[in-house]
Symmetry: C2
Subunit: 344 residues, 2 copies
Amino acid sequence: MSDTPHRFIRALRRERNDRTPVWLMRQAGRYLPEYRATRERAGNFLNLCKTPELACEVTLQPLARFPLDAAILFSDILTVPDAMGLGLTLDEGVGPRFTHPLRDPAAAARLGIPDPETDLRYVTDAVRLIKRELQGKTPLIGFAGSPWTLATYMIEGGGHHDFKLVKNWLYGEPAAFEALVNLLADAVTVYLNAQIAAGVDAVMVFDTWGGVLTTDAYERYSLAPMQRIVQGLSPGTPNILFTKGGGLWLESMAATGCTGLGCDWSVDLGNARRRVGDLVALQGNLDPAILRAPVPVIEQEVDRVLDAFGGGAGHIFNLGHGITPDINPEHVAAMVARVHARQL
Amino acid sequence: MSDTPHRFIRALRRERNDRTPVWLMRQAGRYLPEYRATRERAGNFLNLCKTPELACEVTLQPLARFPLDAAILFSDILTVPDAMGLGLTLDEGVGPRFTHPLRDPAAAARLGIPDPETDLRYVTDAVRLIKRELQGKTPLIGFAGSPWTLATYMIEGGGHHDFKLVKNWLYGEPAAFEALVNLLADAVTVYLNAQIAAGVDAVMVFDTWGGVLTTDAYERYSLAPMQRIVQGLSPGTPNILFTKGGGLWLESMAATGCTGLGCDWSVDLGNARRRVGDLVALQGNLDPAILRAPVPVIEQEVDRVLDAFGGGAGHIFNLGHGITPDINPEHVAAMVARVHARQL
């Protein structure tokens, strides 16, 4: 556990900290042997998500190894469309697939908003369990997928093929598509507020595929629904928006009123700070590929990220995207130690 | 043929034009039935590239259909590593593969710079044939892959797996990797200068994979070698740099001294023009997915791109990436007509 709890929350509020807080996207994941053992017991990834005791167990595993400054709920961004009746499967090597993908606007019009305390009870139960275990020592992050990203998976049915189906819909039936992302924004808002009610200390919205849009389409179909979510969150809950490939759009993202922005590794944090650092905290952004390099290279690249941000308040160290299964946990330990070695 | 030749060159020089010039990345391609017929005769894609008469034939096909403002040499970015002895194959459905991918810096150190007039004679012969056929009516664009993009294919051996091998090398053996991209910069410079000597009117460097790098790695391993190319080109030859996913880096790209920048569809051209429009021309940037939409949507989105740039000198209309095989040629005709309908 961190010896200085809530460093993460202070950084999000752009308050002074002794050290830069650090956590990793997908920190509870396949690079950890203890995670692989628990997932083996669960049978598969989706069972692991849907069994609160096991989701709690894997959420806590990286905290037992590394002095991380935040825990993140173990779950998947596609739980919401699964609860809408699309039938999620998550098989290794195949990736996420829906048994009943959305094929036309008529099918989308029949979708309802899941009730988190019944349809997604396994998530709020996991949050309550994890919070009990954490005993207030480390903040817990809840999360959801962005409406555009969810729509992408729901319409493509799984692995995307150049986003052909979802873009055909977006450009061919813009009004119906806008109705779908707005419905998803409402479903995500309700879902995140249920996570907040169950105890999470902050929430993050993952917009994995926003970067494949034009600026105009991004603003309409990804950013506008994310803003709707930010505005609908329980007041006072710190929140982070992360659009992979969204470095061009940091100004409009910051203007949503969110608390922090996740940055992928293509962004220079110094540049990002000059653009939006008076409005939001910044989270990121080591290239996960660097964790395969020798430790001295990892340390040099951690320093480069810290130097790019430039010290002071408002930085949460993270990767620029999720950690990959091939990473040596000792390299993660070296990364975390290097971040914490520097006094702010 | 265009009724106002050299509109493309005037736009690159940011001189006044009557209309915005337009051409399409991969305009000689599988969406055209006449292209598919010629490729059938060639046997496969690589034979098509390597047979000057057939490369000339497909280069001219889109000009016979649409009043395009530029022709682009039909070839492939991987001809240079093929001429270096890596053994390129390009099978449909599999994509490009090298029989002898680069496995270590020692192998890279043994690479030499191909002599274009012998090792890549089929390219310069194609240029001479095409120039003869064009009779000065339409300018011809030559091209090459960027050193980083070539290195990616050469090291990964073909389809990339999260760029794992090439990033391992970049981060693990940075000096050897820098030597490789510098060698490739020299090979590309010699190759483009041979295309220029054979008659091309402008050249373009395709940096398909620059966007997967951090800002720092991009500047060192993709932009610096591209600058080396720009500085080594035969004086006075207009040139365009295109990094897909490079919208964050337009300022440093423009600072290379290049003539124009290609923009993918994520970039807002008005924003790009404010950032670098006094230094370079801008080329782009309709999302190719829009060409699958009904014609009125295509027209509206063409207008949106033209409006984003905002009129005046220095814009070349294009897609944000190559046209895909599933596009109806009539939709391309509608796009080109819409661009030319607007007086500047």
